[in-house]
Amino acid sequence: MLLNKSVPNIPAGNLIHKTLKFVPREGLRRLSRKVVARALAVPMLATTLAIAPTGAAEVNSTGLAVTDDTVTVGILHSVTGTMAISETGSVQAEKLAIEQINAMGGVLGRKIKYIQEDGASDWPTFAEKSKKLLVNDKVAAVFGCWTSASRKAVLPIFEQYNGMLYYPTFYEGLEQSPNVIYTGQEATQQILAGIDWVVKEKGAKKFFLLGSDYIWPRTSNKIARKHIEKLGLKVVGEEYYPLGHTQFNSVINKIKLKKPDVIYAIVVGGSNVAFYKQLKAAGIDLTKEKPVLLTISVTEDEILGIGGENIVGAYAAMKYFQSLDNPNNEAFVKAFKEKWGKDIVIGDVTQAAYLGPWLWKAAVEKAGSFDIDKVRAASPGIELKTAPEGYVRIHENHHLWSKTRIGLAQMDGQYKVVHETEELMEPDPFPKGYQ
């Protein structure tokens, strides 16, 4: 396949897009990236690096960038290009966490320094930059990536050079790498609890599944459909629209005809705005008893673009909402707004990104070392009682045990939490019977 030839680092089957608005230009860019990547490869290998002084040897036996009083980590997100819209919040959260950890005295007595690289919404660039962070900068951990496509692009590099990636986005699952800690929810955690809730509380019997046309919505809807059918209920429609689609009138007519109890929507990016505006214009009032709209793709960040008045009354199933009422979250929201401005909103992924540095710190301290292998061995079972979402714990499979909440969208663009699971949901990236 052509893709394979021009991008040696990414197997063709792995080009998975999580949130992507415009694809056609990639072909153009990819060509030039290929040239750049080749040109860079040689000097990169030749670069020498400063090895930490002997004092640091006991906590660092593999030559990571650790000195007697500092440790260097990497932040790798898109701050330019299409994805900047989503990834900016994650960068802000990670910087805030690092600043707070440093104010508490750092990790193993060392202050965290970060090197920030820009993935530029371009998957080969992510691969290139992650290699730079691991090989040149010898960072002890990387906090980064957002789309599944970017994660898949850097995965072989993290596995080859044995790095540690903390990945914040909720995603479709079907992955488990020794070199990644997934701080967002995988698909089953988000989906099962949401559907159970809507069945129990709203007496839903008929579902209409809707999504943008790429792997995350399709995988998620597959899981949702299996679960709905397992409960003995009915899926009356399943529809996908291309990324960036702006005309939803036809599907809205279909929804009106099929009269589902629940519209299960996994629309992403700019399409979201079009979908909710047109739903409202077509006279489907989400604040009414039926149909209920349940989404797993709209966080507070997206509502900024959609407008609270267009989505008020919709429900979202996620692990975090800015309005969560607990002391941890209160402190987090306050600190976040002090650092990044009072008008800012915090979505699910932003909070998950905030967990990354804290989970890494806890694992390093448990291991008593920055060595990647020791941190990995120490990670399962790490707990975080100070997480804004409440208590979380790392599972053997590198995902987090976390609660799932249902939020009701308000006029002001915030969610009101109406339900949370009593127990932590077990992460299950390879759900049996759902594939």
Partner: protein, 308 residues
Amino acid sequence: MFADYTAAELTSIFAMQGFAGLILFSILVLMALGLAIIFGQMGVINMAHGEFMILGAYITYLTSNLFSEHAAALFDGYFFIAMALAFVATFALGALVEWALIRHLYRRPLDTLLATWGLSLILQQTYRSVFGAREVGVTLPDWLMGSYPLTEMIEIPINGIFVMVLTLLITLGVYLVMFRSRWGKQVRAVVQNREMAGAVGINTEKVDRMTFALGCGIAGIAGSAFTMIGSTGPTSGQLYIVDTFLVVVFGGAQSLLGTVASAFTISQAQSTMEFFLSGSMAKVLTLLVVVGILMLRPQGLFALKIRR
């Protein structure tokens, strides 16, 4: 698939689906008119067309903020002022771009493609720096939202009606300007034979600048109207550009009537198929049909008959 529904339900759904097709038709025409003028009449491949539309959307956003803060009483009417401002701003930017960039490239059509593509990247990054990377939400006056219930099943979206009326007015306006005014006659003369038009005393440079600016201005109005149905973000313009070119090329680049006819064909095909198939399949089939027809008729639906 219709066995489960009553005749009344089906009638209303088909009525609404027909209406959805008409709305899509208006949107495509509105998107494509500006480009039809620029690409069709001047031969400039304007890749920044989407960004001109988004400039219009951002102007609408600014106007809406201004009104809600300083003149809340007049908020209901701000949309018209926003559209006028959007036209003025994009018209001015269009004239500037023509003067600084496009006029040097008239004899090199492929270079205009690259230059305007670069321009689109510059504009996107400018929007990102000025308005932030996140999409902005444009608040609409209440009367533009919601729907008008005709029967129990049939509900007519008000913003759909608004877009249709607007499209009608603008198409009419463009028709009058192009075919009933002295200036339009000059434009058509320049399109048909630039040298000869210059020889009989038409200031072709000025005609070019105004034509380009007019095309951009219409894009601005379209962008302003689309805040009602779509997103406003730095890269939102990219969502429209492919469809826009599709409509213009399919209709026959030099014919404005062709653009309208092509928008009608594409929108009706698209919305009918969307109803019976999934959204992605409908898009694929629409594109296949368009490609097929263009293979048989490379000049598009309507071609201008002139001696070269």
